[in-house]
Subunit: 433 residues, 2 copies
């Protein structure tokens, strides 16, 4: 238990410090080599890596749509129904984010517009690993569908049967994703960013992944011939802000939800109640014994922090300093605290809003800024799958009205040709008058 | 004159290729050294670099507000009036971009929200060089003001008199920018990203600059303890799409407006009229002689490309392939072509809409994606100065309604704690019922 007000500024900073991210020269070099191999040898290189790491006998990267549909039929009716519920909520919430174009006359005869358009081709990366992640397919696939992206390219590591999990196939079917490629890791990111014989290059790459995937996304985003990416990534994290009336079992289960994601997950409780901290610690110990991913969660919980604040207001300032990816507020007046809660990727209000609601089915996106990026990056949303551009149209009158100011400014900046571009036009208008 | 339909695919690609960007190991190393120096020695290092490169005797980085206001009084009434006109148009257009928060019930009892909030602290970089750039101050300062960013930090290299140009001071005054620091280059970017004794760290850095500034922005954006940046940058560029009725003098002046920005500027004309190309070439030669930045513009025009297409529709596809920063459409039916124009940072419609209108005063932002980034990045706008985050609140009924689906999905993904976080809550509700 950390008694916040007793800490020095340095101790406070270290209590909120995140673990150093994997950023070794070795990782950078390995990933750079994979990118080079895929860039120069295309499919052949992607297949080689995929056979080595994922699925020994794979000969072709594309999973046909018919096979997607066949796999989808294997999902149980219960899981299908749950996926459909989540899909409907996620779609409603992202539909509601559809932006309005703007058209405005700023000076008589001068029309300015801002228009939104879908990115043409997006790459959706779905990690492999111990369990299929149909929720991530929806978190990326639904906004891509709502935005109207023409090409939705999904890459995910194949299993030993050279297939993908039925749940992934069904979620992809719901989102209208037809281009599915059986590859993962840095090689999949390289294939989407640079293009290969069978995977046409995309404009932007989305989705979570291990350190190879994250490093590959960073590297391709630094190249003009690469691809944009959704956001920088770090380990997942939750901060629970609670008062003395919070239910210790609920709080413990929310901390453990975070902890079971991986041993580097961060779980923090900040409260003004020492009694709650003690009760939560007990509940964590008890609940841990029931988890199948017990050892992962236990390792993450070794780094969990239980912070005792002098007041709720101090607790809030701790949360603002940390800028958590997930912020769960289990306080009596949770909604009233919103104006004070400054930096967070997604906020979960009140006792009945566990992180798993947003991870799966409330409708919000579960791709969120981690590692303090909630200060300067947005939660993933529809706008990340679109592009804004502007239009201006001056009529002859618009040129007459605004031309003199433009010439004055061009003159002040010493740019003659900018001035002349207006001068020639005003001359012609005078001749015509 | 390039006859488009006679080119091979490879020749087409090379005709639209952009110049390689300065990306030498030497540049990267020099910038990394500057960042390290500023990170470890703060103001002292920034002052050393500034004294070496910009203003020999400088002792303090901050330009007091009183000095800003005194400098602003030196601007001529004509220029003041032009700046006010531009300011008003830019403010109107960015005011119109103010986003709406969203609140939606996705399932009975499940409320999801998306809220927009201003970034707290933004860094606005204004290049120095041969002429002051009050327009860039407005393009960055107005959206920061409209968004409501608490801290607007402006860095710009000081002149020999240890001051800034009166026009910069006046534009900064209009935008309510009070934190002005006399420094430029990679050292200014480092100071804003990491913080020094006198410059408190910002969340995101905006603005154009030379290759040192661009490289520094890239480097700080790659570090979790650095800052986000507006967008990747390359040399500025224009593509004029014109038919045989376009005015050759107008087209030539638009190409030269781009060319005078710098020797690496790209100017491209695409038209279905050989006669127009010949007339524009003549007009360019004649107009060049009148420009004070004649030698810069002449060097850029050596790389200008005049592309003859078989048809307007082929010309449009050339533009879409190139994805220009500025796209000027001087065709009879310019507005009707909009649905076909796919990738561009900003589009200028018709004979009376020169690039200089958008550069200065129409209202649109002149910070735009270059170097082909118009495919996957947005034009700078109000949203770049804000952050989106989400909120969800489930009532007890919301948990009853959505809980079973969440548990089903958590089960499918093998995440017990996620499932339990709902299970414990449903149990408690059952006990209470």
């Amino acid at each position: 238990m950390i008694n916040w007000s007793s800490l020095s500024a340095a101790d406070k900073a270290s209590a909120l410090a995140r673990p150093a991210m994997a950023d070794s020269a070795a990782l950078r070099t390995t990933v750079a080599e994979i990118l080079t191999a895929v860039e120069s040898r295309g499919d052949e290189a992607v297949l080689e890596y995929t056979r080595r790491f994922d699925s020994a006998g794979l000969n072709t990267l594309r999973l046909p749509v018919a096979q997607r549909d066949e796999l989808a039929t294997r999902v149980s009716p219960q899981v299908k129904s749950a996926i459909k519920t989540a899909f409907s909520n996620i779609k409603q919430f992202h539909d509601a984010q559809y932006p309005q174009d703007i058209r405005l006359t700023t000076t008589p005869g001068v029309v300015c517009e801002q228009r939104f358009t879908a990115l043409e081709a997006v790459g959706l990366y779905i990690p492999g690993g111990s369990a299929p992640l149909p929720s991530t397919v929806m978190m990326l696939g639904v906004p891509a569908m709502v935005a109207g992206c023409k090409r939705k390219v999904l890459c995910t590591p194949p299993n030993q049967a050279q297939e993908i999990a039925p749940e992934i196939a069904f979620a992809a079917q719901c989102c209208g994703i037809e281009e599915i490629y059986l590859c993962g890791g840095a090689q999949a990111i390289a294939a989407m960013a640079f293009g290969t014989q069978s995977i046409i290059k995309v404009d932007k790459i989305f989705g979570p992944g291990n350190s190879f995937v994250t490093e590959a996304k960073q590297q391709v985003s630094q190249r003009a011939d690469g691809a944009a990416i959704d956001m920088p990534a770090g380990p997942s994290e939750v901060l629970v802000l609670a008062d003395g009336n919070a239910d210790a079992q609920f709080v413990a289960s929310d901390l453990l939800s975070q902890a079971e994601h991986g041993p580097d997950s961060q779980a923090i409780l900040v409260t003004d109640s020492a009694a709650l901290i003690n009760a939560v610690k007990e509940a964590v110990t008890e609940q841990l014994t029931h988890l199948s991913r017990n050892s992962i969660a236990a390792r993450a919980m070794e780094n969990a922090r239980y912070i005792l604040a002098d007041s709720l207001s101090e607790a809030i300032s701790v949360s603002n300093d940390y800028a958590p990816e997930h912020l769960i507020v289990q306080c009596d007046n949770a909604r009233e605290l919103l104006p004070e809660l400054k930096h967070a990727g997604s906020i979960f209000l009140g006792p009945w809003s566990p992180e798993s609601a947003g991870d799966y089915a409330s409708g919000t996106n579960h791709v969120l800024p981690t590692y303090g990026y909630a200060r300067n990056y947005s939660s993933l949303g529809l706008l990340d799958f679109m592009r804004r551009y502007t239009i201006q149209e001056l009529s002859a009158d618009g040129m007459r009205n605004l031309g003199p100011a433009i010439m004055q400014l061009a003159d002040a900046e010493g740019l003659d040709a900018h001035k002349n571009a207006v001068g020639y036009r005003l001359n012609k208008l005078q001749q015509n008058d």
